[in-house]
């Protein structure tokens, strides 16, 4: 009975071979494609490093109704794969080709010719891709709402401007580590993509307060903003941002080394839905800033995660200000060298469900793992 079901391709609409990544080879994919044919809607080959163009060409021909395809880390595939996708996979909506270093702008061009309904694309770490490819793709695929291109040095302000102009539905943009993306790109996004919900600019080191001002003007629905490592940002930028973007829920400000308690005061008074805040390595933050966070309306209701690791000025007094954050589930305190065991104990007495992460041993030490020991310690086997 199971055998019959298994052989019937119609039962195979979603296939994720990710768990078997180490063993999946070309023939597996070829057979699967033949069996499932038009029924297959979603396939993940993430991490299947041995898969080649040949297998995927057969797949594209056989499974023309594919809607979501994940090829992350299929390092061997080349533009040929994308050419057959463009030729056959007209229903493709979601495509992840991140970490496929062989792919070039030709892939984007090929996809743009066939996949008009594309909504979600991830081209992170495809190091050969440039503005030209993005330009062609976004012109042809106006439905794109999620665009992820982490770590691409050839993507500049121009590419992102084209994206903003052509895809005004953009909800989520991630340009982490694209060092040539700066304020102009963000200005264009703010102008055209008013519905933007999530933006990651981490390690885009050229970004300044101008970008934050632009976001404040255009993207009032912003919920997630990640700007870790954007060292030019200051309190005044965050002031303009928070005045207008009241929906912010998740903020990653790691290593925004210029910000002070003032930014925290702005956040506390304007952004009442804040649930996760990262302030790691913001070395100017003091107990006073923590007091603002602890006394804001969001603190007791929504704030669940607070990361304060490597904030050297924060002391036990700062922790006292957090006792009203009843929703807080996790706090990071690594390397806050002024924090003591006693301070942590006091906080935990008030918030017993809070997970406090510090270098001190957790209050309830995890039971030591027995049995497995001999596996890693030769000499103990003998004794």
């Amino acid at each position: 009975m199971w055998n019959v079901l298994a052989l019937d391709g119609s039962n195979w609409q979603r296939v994720d071979l990710f768990e078997f990544q180490k063993d999946v080879e070309g023939p597996v994919v070829e057979n699967l494609s033949k069996r499932c044919g038009g029924f297959l809607k979603s396939l993940s080959l993430r991490g299947c490093q041995v898969i080649t163009d040949q297998a995927l060409q057969i797949f594209a021909e056989q499974c023309r109704n594919i809607e979501a395809l994940n090829l992350n880390n299929c390092k061997k595939i080349t533009d040929l794969t994308c050419e057959s996708l463009g030729r056959h996979s007209h229903r493709l909506m979601k495509l992840d080709i991140s970490s496929c270093p062989e792919l070039t702008d030709n892939s984007l061009k090929a996809i743009s010719t066939g996949c008009k309904y594309l909504e979600h694309i991830d081209i992170s770490w495809c190091v050969n891709m440039t503005d030209d490819g993005v330009d062609i793709l976004t012109k042809a695929c106006p439905r794109i709402a999620v665009f992820i291109c982490r770590g691409l040095q050839h993507i500049t302000d121009y590419g992102i401007e084209q994206l903003a102009i052509h895809c005004s539905n953009l909800k989520k943009l991630n340009v982490q580590g694209c060092q040539n993306v700066g304020d102009e790109a963000i200005a264009a996004v703010s102008n055209h993509c008013r519905g933007l919900v999530s933006l990651c600019l981490s390690n885009c080191t050229r970004v300044t307060d101008t970008a934050l001002q632009a976001l404040g003007t255009g993207c009032h629905n912003l919920r997630t903003l990640e700007v870790s490592g954007c060292t030019h940002l200051t309190d005044s930028g965050f002031q303009s941002l928070t005045r207008n973007c009241h929906e912010l829920q998740k903020m990653d400000l790691e290593e925004c080394i210029q910000i002070t308690d003032a930014t925290l005061a702005h956040l506390a008074s304007h952004c009442h839905r804040l649930s996760a805040l990262t302030l790691s390595h913001c070395e100017l933050i003091t107990d006073e800033g923590i007091r603002h966070i602890g006394s804001s309306p969001s603190s007791s209701e929504t704030l669940t995660v607070l990361e304060l690791d490597n904030c050297p000025l924060v002391t036990d007094v700062g922790l006292e200000h957090l006792v009203n954050c009843t929703s807080l589930q996790r706090i990071e305190l690594y390397d806050c060298q002024l924090i003591t065991r006693a301070g942590i104990r006091r906080l935990r007495n008030r918030l017993p469900n809070l997970r406090v992460h510090a270098y001190f041993a957790p209050v309830t030490p995890p039971p030591s793992v027995g049995g497995g020991r001999q596996r890693y310690c030769k000499c103990c086997v003998i004794l």
Partner: protein, 199 residues
């Protein structure tokens, strides 16, 4: 064949020992261990001079190290710590030489009041370096032959030198010269099966 430390100390008539100058060559130890090793060598040198009678010599083995001690009639004492390959005869000849030169530099009346920080005796470090070289050491033994090796008292451990009822662990625990880190170092090193301590 290595020398690790060379120490000159003064043992007063009341038996109290004061280190006058010490030189170390610890490059063969790990970077992070050097501080503790140095403290331990000074510590060991001190307790050995304390427990060696005036006008006597001894060589004390401790694991792969050997400490050669000589305390003169006038209370001036020296300790050289080397590995087990280093020749006893050379070590004791070196001690003679160093103590003689120290006496030339500072007279015996000065010893009780000298402070270690004021002592200027760069020869100590020079000798420690020079006699690392086996060839130099060899040359010296050929020149100086008056040493009577039969009078050197041999001990197999430091514990053997200690007085009745004394324990090395207690001395380590009580010592002011050893930092907390060195004491922990001593305790962990004592557990022989090191890899199991870590995991």
């Amino acid at each position: 064949m290595r020398l690790y430390s060379l120490t000159v100390a003064y043992k007063g008539s009341d038996g109290v020992v004061k280190q006058l100058k010490a030189a170390h060559e610890l490059s063969s130890f790990g970077y992070f261990q050097r501080g503790s090793v140095r403290e331990f060598m000074d510590f060991t040198s001190k307790i050995l001079i304390e427990r060696t009678a005036m006008c006597s010599r001894s060589s004390v083995k401790e694991q792969e190290y050997i400490c050669h001690v000589y305390v003169r009639q006038d209370g001036l004492g020296g300790v050289v710590i080397g590995d087990h390959e280093y020749q006893q005869r050379v070590a004791h000849t070196l001690l003679n030489k160093v103590l003689d030169e120290f006496t030339q530099r500072y007279s015996s009346t000065q010893w009780p009041v000298l402070k270690e920080s004021d002592v200027n005796f760069p020869q100590l470090q020079e000798y420690l370096q020079k006699y690392q070289n086996p060839k130099e050491a060899d040359a010296m033994t050929k020149i100086q032959t008056e040493l009577d090796e039969t009078k050197i008292i041999l001990h197999n451990t430091i514990e053997a030198v200690l007085q009745r009822g004394e324990k090395l662990d207690d001395l380590v625990e009580k010592s002011e010269g050893l930092s907390l880190q060195s004491k922990t170092f001593y305790k962990t090193a004592k557990k022989t099966n090191q890899c199991c301590i870590i995991l």
